[in-house]
Symmetry: C2
Subunit: 447 residues, 2 copies
């Protein structure tokens, strides 16, 4: 064996890890899962029939894969439905704009809302504009997100998505449209959560593709008034219910203690939720199965498929609430929710006593081209945000997100965007992670 | 000067060519033209207000650029309008399909047409199916076009677009949908001309994107009936009229003799017709201007912007009819209608006596990385097809079409797909071509 000795793992265990890794690198299991989910279920927006079908799919798959325990836990959320959306330049040169409503947007009147465009380059620029600067107009924020391996361009860009319609309304606007939070050069508009504010008039909240934003910018730059029409038909439907779906391989020695991995089962409605987050669902389900392939692990391996992430982490919040007393039994947690490109790094957030175990895990991932980021301040994916107050041992298995925002939250997030080879590398990494965290001589503790 | 001596061109002329070439390689003229056309006019489907605006735009630009003669010539065509189009899988897993009506398609009933899908891999497979094989069903042809520098994958794939709905109807189908004639991995459906046949029931004729075709194929492969709904609202409107727009720099010695370059001014309605064929319009307008920048050429340089190409070369047919007696005065013809990627080759179709001139022209293009294809059987772009019976001296300035069918005839054919650097190389090549063909000591003759 190529493995060095370790204080935390037996020689047999290190041999098992190598075999599990090799098995993962030739396995089609994750591909089959994400193909099945995105084809046989399709889009899974919280509260829709697709969401319900996704829950049934997950329960059936966990059972078919031989997980020891399979169960669901309810989560409620504010339900919102998209019916239709369209937009067009009315003058000076009539042409369609590729638009999408942002989540939670109100409807326009049936004939749409038609007004002159006023352009701002950033949300800050809009915020510092005089009161009534946008009176009677449609505000267009033209901010282009940066491309970045770690997705660091996303946060700043999302401000205009989350709050843009509120600030625009405060400046007197009758509608709001932004350049998509997207790195693609294609005419797909990017959806995602947006919010209104008590006491501020609700106006339609929408995004156009990068190509359309370029076009609108050029038209505005011509210096003559540019009039557009935005037509969004959507509806808030009160409280909806969905379900976290959980599958567990029970441990042999410390069954309460468990590794927690997973993704979110819901998706936006425009695409089929392949990269976001069918991939994470498939990677972690397959990894758990492979990690369990050498027989029972010492601790349990739990896969949590969170509900209603896209509407605001509602499944994760419900999980934390329902399982609050058991969060201390989590020995390692990681969520896969950043597409399906290769994992390039592992980063931990654990008690110092656990760092030798982390180093052993990282060593076993080295042949997968996973680097060890030593700084021990990892965050663990969006659905682990509600877990943070509980100081669980969190990990980031960092995927390369350079191309993620070409597809994320658009109609173009479909199965063909997943590379089966890269998917296998993800499964191998998660399988190593789950097996080793579940079998380490001493359990990993949070900070 | 780097130029060798030539029997066909003076030293001064060869110096001029070099200067024109350098000027073209730093000129923004073509970019400004295609930006203006695609922004200020936008989509230009024959018979639409955009088409009319395009004609006005071209007349104004030719005049502003100082062409000596600017005129229009009418062309009629069977007008067709697209109102709306949508499709969805109804069962087993409800989800949207990204679809477009093919040109000339009839409408479905208002609620769409809903039926089970029957899949064929090729048009041949459908043709050899038994009578009534598709009775009551929607035929889906799943043929994937090949990617190829010269676009050789297009012709075979277009068969299913042109005739698919007829053959499907002959087998009893109630609707027709095909995999797009496209090389893209994005959810853009590709439109284009299609035809019905006297005596065969007209059924809706449509195409879905590659990603959607993959999905539909996977659903059909599950083995259970797959039901989809196609909703197309479109209308044939009788005869429409548009105009070829022609600009000419008149020659000093043989004004009747002329180089004919150009593109087509119309486009499909889904995108803004940037690659198809705003680029060709801009390249040839700019090249003529640059070729004329050293003063009058011996022969005239004529830029023809053809009307209604997309509906069946109607402008080109009208041009040939109206100018039949003058076609013998064409000393060289080339159409730019294959996007905006670099020109990699020049190929001729001329009388043997003209081959030395062609070699000199090719030599002047060598520094632009344009190869000379010696075989002398060039065809000159779609709008030159109606010229073929007249044996004009035709040229192919062959663009690299590897990526062309990622965008062609889709909503994604927008300005951002044009690389300004590559556009300049096209302008330089066409400028060299126009200048030299217009100034050669003896005129180039056709075969
Ligand atoms: Zn996600
Ligand atoms: Zn998301
Ligand atoms: Zn064309
Ligand atoms: Zn075309």
């Amino acid at each position: 064996s190529a493995q060095a000795k370790s204080d935390n793992f037996s020689t047999q265990q290190l041999t098992d890890v190598e075999q599990i890794k090799q098995q993962a690198l030739t396995s089609d299991l994750a591909w089959d899962l994400v193909e099945s989910l995105t084809t046989e279920v399709g889009p899974r927006m919280p509260g829709t029939p697709g969401d319900k079908a996704g829950v049934a799919w997950a329960v059936a798959k966990f059972n078919a894969m031989g997980f020891d325990k399979v169960w669901t836990e309810p989560a409620t959320f504010p339900k919102w439905i998209r019916y239709s959306e369209s937009a067009a330049v009315i003058s000076p040169s009539p042409q369609k704009l590729h638009i999408t409503a942002l989540g939670n947007s109100i409807s326009t009147p049936k004939e749409g809302i038609q007004a002159e465009v006023i352009e701002f380059q950033t949300l800050d620029e809009l915020e510092s504009a005089p009161e009534s600067a946008a009176k009677g107009k449609i505000v267009f924020i033209n901010y282009q997100m940066n491309r970045d391996r770690d997705g660091n361009g996303y946060g700043p860009a999302v401000q205009a998505r989350s709050r843009g319609a509120v600030v625009a309304a405060q400046k007197g606007a009758v509608g709001y449209v932004m350049r998509s939070v997207s790195t693609a050069h294609h005419r797909f508009a990017h959806t995602g959560g947006s919010h209104y504010k008590e006491g501020v008039t609700k106006i339609v909240s929408s995004a156009i593709s990068n190509a359309d934003a370029d076009q609108l910018h050029r038209l505005v730059a011509l210096g003559e008034p540019v009039t557009i029409n935005i037509n969004v038909q959507a509806q808030s439907m009160g409280e909806g219910t969905s379900y976290n779906v959980i599958g567990e391989f029970t441990g042999s020695e410390f069954p309460q203690e468990h590794v927690l991995i997973g993704g979110h089962l819901d998706s936006w409605d425009l695409g089929t939720g392949a990269l976001d987050d069918g991939a994470g669902v498939a990677i972690t389900m397959a990894a758990a199965k492979l990690a369990h392939s050498k027989g029972k692990t010492k601790r349990s391996i739990r896969v949590v498929l969170f509900a209603a992430e896209e509407f605001g982490l509602w499944g994760a919040k419900a999980y934390v609430k329902a399982n609050e007393k058991n969060l201390k039994h989590i020995v390692a947690a990681a969520e896969s929710d950043f597409g399906a490109d290769k994992i390039w790094a592992i980063e931990s957030n654990v008690d110092a006593s656990a760092l030798p175990v982390v180093r052993d895990i990282a060593k076993a991932m080295a042949s997968l081209n996973v680097e060890h980021i030593g700084k021990n301040t990892a965050r663990g994916g969006p659905d682990l945000i509600p877990f943070r107050p509980f100081n669980i041992p969190a990990f980031r298995l960092a995927q390369d997100g350079t191309d993620y925002f070409n597809y994320h939250h658009t109609a173009d997030d479909t199965l063909d965007k997943i590379d089966p080879e890269k998917l296998r590398q993800n499964v191998a990494t998660y399988a190593v992670f789950a097996y080793m965290a579940a079998n380490a001589k001493t359990r990993i503790l949070g900070k």
